[in-house]
Amino acid sequence: MSEIVKITRVTGTAVPIRGNDIDTDRIIPARYLKEVTFARMGQYPFFDERFDAAGKPKAHPLNDPKYLGASVLLVNRNFGCGSSREHAPQALYRFGIQAIVGESFAAIFAGNCVMMGLPTATASASDIEMLMNTVEQNPQTRFIVDIDKKIASFGEQQISIDLPETYRSALTSGSWDSTTMLRARLDQVKKTASKLPYMTGFAG
């Protein structure tokens, strides 16, 4: 990428989606993976939980007008487990989510998020509960998710959030879109490859 985008903080209102172990099949049903681009993914997050078979909306935070325009998603434990489909974070991002704060995230999901410039930050279970309650009672609450300082705040309140140092560094330095960084070292890559015996078919 030619353009470097540093992601240090995300501000805006939040939407809570409660529950542990929310898998990526729930975040985006597999049938939408048949599309050849991510362009329309923003229409599909949690589709089968938001709409019934006839397409009629069901009660779901992402359908609730009070959370309209939220940019921070609040979740519980092991969010994004299961399938590696990047369509899941793409769907959330294209729906308008710019940061996810939760108790914990599944490994591949968190990795996919950072590569899209979508921060996933963790906080204690009690802080997540407090944030969710705050938002449910007062959905207009504006949050600042500060990736650099590892603090989430609203009004006078502050909680500490965490994310792997490598993710924080990638996001805040603008090197989350890693291709350029990796490609700059192709000579070293070739050197490493040349030392691996299978690369030459174990030739003597």
Binding site: P29, G82, S84, M181, L182, R185, A193, L196, F202
Partner: protein, 465 residues
């Protein structure tokens, strides 16, 4: 941190350098791709004017969306056709070897890699699919990646990665009759939790694992990700080398001997240090069935369904009961089924089909049950037919299909309808996974699926000698 494990050794030999972010730039020895998670990655390459850095290290197939009955082109599903065409165009444009629909090597990506001998010990392997952990059975450091990472591998043959910890899981003693690798891994996930492996690679060992054949080891490693572990592996040994000898992409003659010497050298040292060690007793494991909506929600066939309070997340367990429509305290034994599915990257290999056929031989699928056998690859299908397994299945009333992912994730026409309950040899019982938002999945071994199909309900396979 772990030391002198297979994981540490492969990590070290594949490290290109430390990136400014602190991540490790890791060389990817083998990259497998399929139709679902790659199209945007190729688009990104084109947009940025990049080529594929090591096109000879990427291999492609079609598995996720292919119909398993009527495979004539164009597919009836226009989206599936478009996605397949996109892959066909991309592999041609970027010079990648492709095992397409007409290739004898077509099949589920995690079945064909080992089958062709592409997957080898001491290698790093990445694929845009979470069940890439399967290849760890060979002592390969294999993990699933997302589409942006697929782009990185195509463009650089490397990934920006953080190192994992290593947890050794020893399965001691021996398994009882009727207990399979699937039951072992379901019990590991049940015990350690669906998020218990977060931040870990799992090293499976102990007598039970050492005595497993390669296909059983693949079943174990396949579901590592269902326990939250990005990767799982078994140290390569004589069983591994015997499996690999003579396969198309494995070197032969003296080169094979050199390969074996390298493969031996990557195994964890006897004095390797682990971040955590877990012990299980093989004799404690029963045929196991999931009752809920994640693979950790499982019980032994003779157990009663657990109370929600027995779980660390009682609310989650209550919601699972709500979706499944049954009550704590009842038996899993006797649960009625509508559909039986034998297939998926977890359990669609020859030994899986043999185990199921042994149960099905000379018996009949219960009237009203839809039963499918979907071999993992065109080659598995061919070998199974040479043994007459297709006849056994057909005579029993199973449909015998072409290779693909099929009803594991229902991206092709094989789907559950409405509230149907499926006894399935696949890997995920997530809500909606098998194609119906209201559908229900019971994960179990292929032999247990076959027995359930015959009875129209969950039974104990040990009663079918």
């Amino acid at each position: 941190m772990a030391e002198r494990t297979l994981y540490d050794k492969i990590w070290k030999s594949h490290t290109v350098g430390i990136l400014p972010t602190g991540q490790t730039q890791l060389f990817v020895g083998l990259h497998l791709i399929h139709e679902i998670t790659t199209a945007p990655a190729f688009d990104m390459l084109r947009e940025q004017g990049m080529d594929v850095a090591f096109p000879e290290r990427t291999f492609a197939t079609v598995d996720h969306i292919v119909p398993t009955d009527l495979r004539t082109r164009p597919f009836l599903d226009a989206e599936a056709e478009e996605l397949t065409k996109a892959l066909e165009k991309n592999v041609k444009e970027f010079g990648i070897e492709f095992f397409g629909l007409d290739s004898p090597n077509q099949g589920i990506v995690h079945v064909i890699g080992p089958q062709l001998g592409l997957t080898q010990p001491g290698m790093t392997l990445a694929c845009g699919d979470s069940h890439t952990s399967t290849h760890g059975a060979f002592g390969t450091l294999a993990f699933g990646i997302g589409t942006s990472q697929v782009r990185d591998v195509l463009a650089t043959q490397t990934l920006a990665m953080d190192k994992l910890q290593v947890r050794k899981i020893n399965v001691n003693g021996a398994l009882r009759t009727g207990v399979y690798a699937k039951d072992v891994i379901l019990n590991i996930i049940r015990r350690l939790g669906v998020a218990g492996g977060k931040g870990f690679a799992y090293e499976y060992g102990g007598p039970v694992v050492e005595n497993m054949n390669m296909e059983e080891r693949m079943t174990m490693c396949n579901m590592s990700i269902e326990g939250g572990a990005l990767a799982g592996y078994v140290n390569p040994d004589a069983t591994t080398f015997a499996f690999l000898r003579g396969r198309p992409y494995v070197p032969s003659g003296e080169a094979f001997e050199r390969a074996v010497a390298y493969w031996k050298s990557v195994a964890s040292d006897p004095d390797a240090r682990y971040d955590d060690v877990v012990e299980l007793e093989g004799k404690d494991i029963e045929p196991t069935v999931t009752w809920g909506v994640n693979p950790g929600q499982a019980v032994g066939i003779s157990e009663k369904l657990p109370r929600p309070e027995e779980y660390s997340d009682p609310d989650g367990a209550r919601k699972a009961y709500e979706h499944m429509g049954w009550q704590p305290g009842g038996p899993i034994l006797g649960t009625p089924i509508d559909v039986a599915f034998i297939g998926s990257c977890t359990n669609s290999r020859l030994t899986d089909l043999r185990a199921a056929a042994k149960i099905a031989r000379g018996r009949k699928v219960k009237a009203g049950i839809r039963a499918l056998v979907v071999p993992g690859s065109a080659e598995v299908k061919k070998l199974a037919e040479q043994e007459g397994l297709h006849d056994i299945f057909r005579e029993a009333g199973f449909e015998w299909r072409d290779a693909g992912c099929s009803m594991c994730l229902a991206m092709n026409p094989d789907k559950l309808v409405g509230r149907e309950i499926c006894a399935s040899s696949s890997n995920r019982n997530f809500i909606g996974r098998q194609g119906s938002p209201r559908g229900r999945t019971l994960l179990m071994s292929p032999a247990m699926v076959a027995a359930a199909a015959l009875n129209g309900q969950v039974v104990d396979v040990r009663e079918y000698p």
